[in-house]
């Protein structure tokens, strides 16, 4: 399994992160959160070598002008909590399916495996676990179709 994380370069406005921050403060009234960074996560379960995965990340998953990526490592520096939201396994992942088509276009053939995706939110601030869980259940995840997980970062 390959895990690719995609994030905006720091010089560009993270509109999703900024919007999420505003929703947490204004709708959930959790004022202790200071900033939010948004990260796209792609989980490729296929028999690919590292060079192919790098090629997929560079040519398909990022916009080279505004984004950067990490393979099998995580964006987390400077943040206190990480929340990850993904679709239940039995729910169709349209973004993942589109990524599979894109990979086939680049590699010129069949893809032996599949792609699932997740949304990751990095939170900075003195939040307790109860508040983080509330952010997951009341804002970021739709429990009918999505799972969430969170972890405290060192």
């Amino acid at each position: 399994m390959w895990r690719i994380e995609v994030s905006l370069l720091s010089e560009f406005t993270d509109s999703v992160g900024t919007g999420t921050l505003s929703d947490i403060k204004e709708d959930l009234l959790i004022k202790s959160v200071e900033s939010v960074k948004y990260v796209d996560v792609y989980l490729i379960d296929a028999n690919l070598d590292e060079n192919s995965v790098k090629e997929i990340a560079e040519k398909l998953l990022i916009d080279p002008i505004t984004q950067e990526f990490k393979i099998n490592s995580e964006f987390s520096n400077g943040f206190n909590w990480a929340i990850e939201v993904s679709l239940h396994k039995n729910v169709t992942d349209n973004v993942g399916m589109t990524a599979e088509e894109g990979i086939r276009d680049i590699l010129g053939g069949k893809l032996d495996g599949g792609v699932r995706t997740a949304r990751k939110y990095l939170l900075k601030g003195k939040l307790d676990e109860k508040e983080v869980k509330r952010i997951c259940t009341d804002l970021l995840a739709n429990g009918i179709i999505e799972n969430y997980s969170y972890k405290k970062l060192d």
Binding site: T13, L60, I65, N94, V95, G102, I106
Partner: protein, 248 residues
Amino acid sequence: MKPKAIVLRTAGTNCEYETNHVLKMVGFDADNVHINELIRGDKKLLDYQMLVIPGGFSHGDYLGSAKILANKMTYKLGNDIPEFIEKGNLVLGICNGFQALVKSGILPGFGGNYKKQETTLTMNDSGHFQDEWIEMKNVNKGKCIFTKDIDFIIPCPINHGEGKFVAPKEIMGKLKSNDQVVFKYVKNPNGSYEDIAGICDESGRVLGLMPHPEKYFTHLNSPQSTRTEISNEAAGLAIFRNAFGYFK
């Protein structure tokens, strides 16, 4: 004989019919063609004189707007579009079509290299989809064939979430010194660098823009229609008339 235009569609394209209509209004013979028809070889790009990539949300805009379409143009059509341009034909990308041209590297196409991405269109500063009427002005000094004699403001809609034009500083300088900046917003709606709404390649025969001139071909399209003079010739048509004029 009428010049032939190909309106290239794919999954998620949704502006092909009005684009086709406008092309026929100004004199083109226009076909809506799925990209798979080109990939399979059922249709040939070189049977046409103008390629138009219309607006929409190709492949759901997943993985970034028009990214999958751009990659299909690069990896599945190979050298077809660069060859089409080099033979003196015209290319117009509107909204999602502009995003595809930019992400495939066809625009800005510095030095005739149509495969290197130098600029991008990213999320609006507002962080959401915007659907509104804007005004754009032609700032091109003569390179772009699509904007010949356009010395008036063109009002038309924008319908995009990722329309903010972004380029590194040296690329912005090159675009300006090469006269490749074509349209600027009168009032910037999305945070585009230097208010840029559209650019062309070095030949002036490839134009991409985020606003939708094809959606303003009669006064009835305008939200101001009851306050303006009745006319079947709205400002958006001028770009298409110039394209037709190129083949006269």
